[in-house]
Every structure is written in structure tokens, then in C-alpha cells.
């Protein structure tokens, strides 16, 4: 019994020597390791980004705690606390590495997207540029074509004007027109009148019809009809007779559809004879009308 007591005592003493520190506060190294680990553990990012390293840190802390509880070997506890702190550091660094890698991945995607957009934009811009160039070329072509057409048109108009002038000349030649400073002057040789008469002789219509056609084709032209007589009779009478002769011709034109506005008629009596009044043939030639063709503005055509 006594031996047993002694044994108990002995064991108690041995335990005492072991647990001297155990009963008191844990060493600062352990406290610091705990705090360090807790701080890391509170950061969700670390356990999310570095789960293995976090687990290893927690295991290291557990071993430290166990060593403290079981042996109270301060040097070993301090050593294990050091390992814990290092494991916490590894977990933190690993988490940071993963975060940076994730960011880099996003940045890469962003850059690729950006480059793609830039290329697309540039291609679009180049396309638009090419299109606008093509449009410009097309417009220039169209303009050149229009100019060519215009010039053709102008040429055609000029040709037409020349043709018309030639036609006019031909007509006038047919009618034996003379160019004078008053305009084209036509003496209608077959439009002649009986003595003391103002009505048209049969056969006059041919030249008058030609002039009517001419007036229809050239609506800008105006004419002046001048009536004349021979020298038989008084001046006053002959003036009146010549007026009536001019008006007869005017009426012919009006009846054939020419506007009266374009025609003026006047009698000049026995003045300006074209032949001698001494013979009947000469007097017949003097009983006549003359037509002066002027253009719209009153200028000689």
C-alpha cells in the first residue's frame, strides 16, 4: 500500500514537472499562430482560392495545439507554431496568385474582345472608305457621262439650229428672200393683184402656204406685211388700197391659224416701186405685197 502511494506520488511529481506550463497560459508563439490562422480563416477569399493550402494551415495549427496539450514542450510548440504561420502565409500567397491569375484571364479575354472589336471597326471603316471612294468614282463617272450627254445635246441643238438656219435659208431662197437691214424681205412674185383690187389672185396661195408653214414652225418669228400699188390714182387712195392689200394677206395667215399678234400690216401706196410704172408689166409687178420676217424681239431674222 505504501509502495503504491509512493508510486502515485512519483507519477504525480513526474506529471507535475510535465504540466508546469500546461496549467498556465499558452506560449505567445501559439497565441500568435492561432490569431494568424483565424485572421486568414475569416477571409473567405483565401479558403475559396486556396482550399488545399488553407487545409494544410489548419492541420498545422491542430498539430501545434495537440503538441501543447499533450507535451507542453515549448520548443516543439514554438516550432509547430512557426510551421503554422508559414502555412498561413503560403495559403495567403496562393490565394493572391489565383486571384491575379483570374484577373489576368479576364484581362486577356477583355483584350481579345477589344482587339476583335477594333479589327471589326477598322474593317468596317475600311469598307466604308472603299464604298465612299466607289461612290465618288461612280458620281464622277455619272457627271462625266452627264457632261458628255450635255455636250452631245448641245451639239445636237447646235446642229438642229444649223439645220434650221439652213432650212430657213432654203425656204427663203425658194421664196426669193433678200436679206436687208430690216430683216428678210420677200417679194411674192406670184401674189399679185388686179388693178384697183385688193383680193388675192388665184395661184397666190402657193407662196403664202409656204410662209404659213414657216410661221408655224418658227413661232418666235413675227412678220410685217407691206402693201404696194402702181402709180395710177391718188396717193391717199393708193395708200388705202395698199393697206387693204396687206390686210388681205394678213387675213390669209390668220385664217390658216397664225396668231394676229405676230403680224402687222401696213400700206405704203405707190412708194418704192420695184419696176417701171411706164409699162403694164412694170405696173403689175408694183401691185404687190412684201413680207419682212423679224424675230420675236423685232430683230431681223
Amino acid at each position: 500500500m505504501k509502495r503504491l502511494d509512493n508510486l502515485d506520488l512519483c507519477a504525480a511529481a513526474a506529471l507535475m514537472s510535465l504540466s508546469m506550463a500546461c496549467a498556465t497560459v499558452p506560449p505567445p508563439a501559439l497565441e500568435q499562430a492561432r490569431e494568424n490562422y483565424q485572421q486568414m480563416h475569416r477571409d473567405d477569399r483565401v479558403s475559396a482560392q486556396a482550399p488545399v493550402a488553407s487545409y494544410e494551415a489548419s492541420q498545422a495549427l491542430r498539430r501545434t495545439e495537440q503538441a501543447w496539450e499533450q507535451s507542453s514542450d515549448e520548443i516543439e510548440v514554438k516550432h509547430l507554431a512557426y510551421l503554422t504561420n508559414r502555412r498561413v502565409e503560403i495559403a495567403r500567397e496562393t490565394a493572391q496568385q489565383k486571384a491575379a491569375e483570374t484577373e489576368a484571364q479576364q484581362l486577356k479575354q477583355e483584350r481579345e474582345k477589344f482587339l476583335l472589336e477594333t479589327r471589326t471597326r477598322e474593317a468596317e471603316r475600311a469598307k466604308q472608305l472603299a464604298e465612299s471612294r466607289a461612290r465618288e468614282v461612280q458620281i464622277a463617272q455619272q457627271e462625266a457621262e452627264a457632261r458628255a450627254r450635255d455636250s452631245q445635246e448641245a451639239q445636237r441643238k447646235a446642229q438642229a439650229a444649223t439645220d434650221r438656219a439652213a432650212e430657213l435659208e432654203k425656204r427663203f431662197a425658194e421664196l426669193k428672200a433678200k436679206q436687208t437691214d430690216r430683216g428678210f424681205e420677200l417679194t411674192l412674185s406670184d401674189v399679185l393683184f388686179e388693178f384697183d383690187k385688193a383680193n388675192l389672185k388665184a395661184g397666190s396661195a402657193r407662196s403664202l402656204t409656204k410662209i404659213t408653214e414657216f410661221l408655224r414652225e418658227n413661232p418666235q418669228r413675227q412678220i410685217t406685211i407691206e402693201g404696194y400699188t402702181d402709180n395710177v390714182g391718188s396717193d391717199a387712195y393708193n395708200r388705202d388700197l395698199s393697206q387693204r392689200r396687206a390686210e388681205t394677206v394678213r387675213d390669209f395667215f390668220v385664217q390658216n391659224g397664225i396668231s394676229a399678234n405676230r403680224i402687222s400690216a401696213r400700206g405704203l401706196g405707190e412708194e418704192y416701186p420695184v419696176a417701171s410704172n411706164d409699162t403694164e408689166a412694170g405696173r403689175q409687178q408694183n401691185r404687190r405685197v412684201q413680207i419682212i420676217i423679224v424675230d420675236e424681239k423685232g430683230q431681223a431674222g
Binding site: 509502495r3 509512493n6 508510486l7 506520488l9 512519483c10 507519477a11 511529481a13 513526474a14 514537472s17 510535465l18 493550402a53 514542450d73 516543439e76 516550432h79 512557426y82 510551421l83 508559414r86 502555412r87 502565409e89 503560403i90 500567397e93 496562393t94 493572391q96 496568385q97 489565383k98 491575379a100 491569375e101 484577373e103 489576368a104 484581362l107 486577356k108 477583355e110 483584350r111 477589344f114 482587339l115 477594333t118 471597326r121
Partner: protein
């Protein structure tokens, strides 16, 4: 008999324990595995970006590994084990720090290149 028992239990018990725990003598096995692991970790860290980005941690790991080897030769196995274990985590810290620094730099480079691209695009789209 009584006196011998008294002595053996009261004195030899704690004494044996104390001697064992302080010197870590015959009952502690040589930490061969820990040393090999530390050696491997240091080698790996040396091959990583650690010499460039975390030379201090790497140096600590290498020094501790050397010390562990010396302790091993002196048969101070507990000391050798602790030093080997610390060399291992130090080497791993060196490697982790270097890897995270490398990743941060890569991200920063990318950020800058993206910014440059954006600035250039803005300039070219504005025309001059």
C-alpha cells in the same frame, strides 16, 4: 529495499524523462524523410521564380537545410527534424510568394497593355 525503491522512483523517473526530452537521444529516429522532403522542396523552389522574386525566403530555406544536415551528422535528430520541416515550409513560402508575384506582374502587364490599346484606339478614332 524501501530506500532503493524510493530512490529509483523519485529520482530516476523524472531524471530519465528529463534526459530523454532534452537531448532527444536514442528514442528519436533520424528524420531522413523530412530531410529528403526539405531537399526536394528547396530544389523545386530553386527551379521556380523564387531566386528572382523571393530570394530571402529561399536563402532561409537553404540555410536551414544546411543546418539540418549538420544536426543530422551530429545525431541531433530532433533539431535536425525541426530544421528540415522549417526549411520545407520556407522553400514552399518562397515558391508561393514568387508565383503570386509573377501572376500579379502578368496581370499588371496585361492591364497596362489593355490601357495602352484603349488609349491608342481612342486617339486614332479621334483623328488629328
Amino acid at each position: 529495499m524501501y530506500a532503493r525503491n524510493f530512490f529509483s522512483l523519485w529520482v530516476s523517473g523524472p531524471l530519465v524523462f528529463t534526459v530523454m526530452s532534452v537531448t532527444g537521444c536514442s528514442t528519436v529516429a533520424p528524420p531522413k524523410e523530412q530531410l529528403a522532403a526539405a531537399e526536394l522542396a528547396v530544389q523545386q523552389a530553386n527551379k521556380s521564380k523564387a531566386p528572382q522574386y523571393s530570394p530571402l525566403e529561399l536563402r532561409m530555406a537553404m540555410d536551414k537545410l544546411d543546418e539540418a544536415k549538420r544536426a543530422m551528422n551530429k545525431k541531433e535528430y530532433t533539431v535536425a527534424r525541426r530544421l528540415a520541416e522549417e526549411a520545407l515550409v520556407d522553400a514552399q513560402v518562397a515558391e508561393a510568394k514568387a508565383a503570386s508575384e509573377d501572376a500579379r506582374r502578368a496581370a499588371s502587364d496585361l492591364r497596362q497593355s489593355l490601357e495602352t490599346l484603349r488609349r491608342e484606339a481612342e486617339r486614332s478614332s479621334r483623328g488629328g
